[in-house]
Symmetry: C2
Subunit: 233 residues, 2 copies
DNA sequence: AATATTAATATGTAACTACTTAATTTTGTC
DNA sequence: GACAAAATTAAGTAGTTACATATTAATATT
């Protein structure tokens, strides 16, 4: 902030953000031009530009060519979550990771799964059910469908040893992913494998991935009771 | 991609990402130096640098000074969610927004709420319960605590007319937010106001905000049955 | 051989220049 | 006055130069 060392773009970002928080620039307001801010703060326009790009990505301001920069009227809360492979998630909690294959069969994809993939023709896929454990206690029950057309190699993997989760993440990069969270009552298999009573509210993390247009896999990861997803920062 | 127009940093980013997806650069691999990539692609180092920064933020690569750039070994799925004010969320779904204040009282903060704020001394806060509706049907039941020390103005707001959600977002910017998602069984008030039977699994979005060190507010937003959170992209 | 010093290296950052692009405002024409 | 063309504006982008900084590797010192 003092004149000793010159301003970095993060300094400029923090300064502008502080002004927005203190309502020097109020919601809906138009900010000065990048160049004027640069002159005021004593830095180059590129530095202000870099700062503004960040604020724009965070969703604090909106920028338009010629239109200038405006403070967003209704700021949205933007939350980012990292979903690592389950092994790492467990290990990062300081717990011992365990894994157990429940079943692996070739089945016709049911309608809801076809809907997730956005496909209309029924086809066979590998249907894998597995349980991830933390300190020998159930952690996540996963119900996964793998497209054997796009990922034939999965058939040669010994899923008793390596989880489909891990193998896919390491060997099958995707270009698009759909992630959604919702709540579900424990029932049948989810209750059984997560050692809970039917009816317990469980958090579900559903992920579907594609490479180009081709579906790869879709998982329903049902977390054990009490599981919380926490945003970064 | 052709030589006609020069490469933008997003072009470079996409090219590098494509190489990572196609395993030209496999997980764990060290990428060439920025400068060499720049020479290869025929652009400036700064352009490659900007691309790499983005890939690093996405979580696809890891960069270290002198150490160079490495492809992440276990790529994490990074999901970003926008949580707008509830009115806008409802309106964006094309539904009619409704709002109903249930109660607004000054209460002693219970332990779990103190824990969320990270404070140890008990104190009084404004305790607001409200219901958000979409097309006259319950949409989100919110149970909120507002720190009257940091936000005394809330006491002058007519919460029958304007929701605390909206007033706070518009009038009380925060510098830090904690967001977490979990599942909860409907019971008591949540069941009653969301017009569902006790036991139904419900998704809860919990948000706590601070300005500097001062707690502002903490909400438990309990969504109606069937609610799904979908990541951007 | 163990440790401290120095050199080399790749990324990080900022300034300046030059040009592009989208959008708005002004001007000109009918 | 309505509409089209031109000028203006502010952000977007890329290149170049210069230097900072963290980390590793090489070298010298004990």
């Amino acid at each position: 902030m003092n004149g000793q060392t010159r301003l970095s773009w993060t300094d400029v970002r923090d300064e502008i953000r502080a002004r927005i928080l203190s309502r020097t620039y109020a919601p809906g307001d138009k900010l000065p031009r990048d160049e004027d801010i640069a002159i005021e703060l004593g830095c180059a326009r590129t530095t202000v530009h870099r700062a503004m790009q960040d604020l724009s990505q965070i969703g604090l301001v909106e920028r338009k060519r010629k239109g200038g920069t405006h403070v967003m009227t209704d700021p949205v809360t933007r939350a980012t979550f990292d979903i690592p492979i389950t092994r790492r998630e467990v290990e990062q909690r300081g717990s011992k990771y365990g894994y157990q294959l429940i079943s692996s069969t070739l089945d016709d994809t049911p309608m809801p799964v076809m809907a997730r993939f956005g496909i209309h023709k029924p086809c066979q896929m590998l249907h894998v059910k597995a349980l991830h454990l933390a300190d020998n206690r159930p952690y996540i029950f996963e119900d996964r469908w793998v497209n054997t057309r796009s990922t034939p190699d999965i058939l040669n993997v010994d899923l008793e040893v390596e989880s489909a989760n891990e193998w896919l993440v390491r060997n099958k990069p995707y270009s698009r992913v759909d992630v959604r969270f919702y709540a579900m009552n424990a029932q049948g298999e989810s209750a059984k494998y997560l050692s809970t009573t039917a009816g317990t509210a469980l958090l579900v993390i559903e992920r579907t991935t594609w490479i180009g247009q081709d579906p790869i896999t879709s998982v329903q990861a049902v977390a054990a009771p009490g599981y919380q997803l926490t945003a970064l920062n």
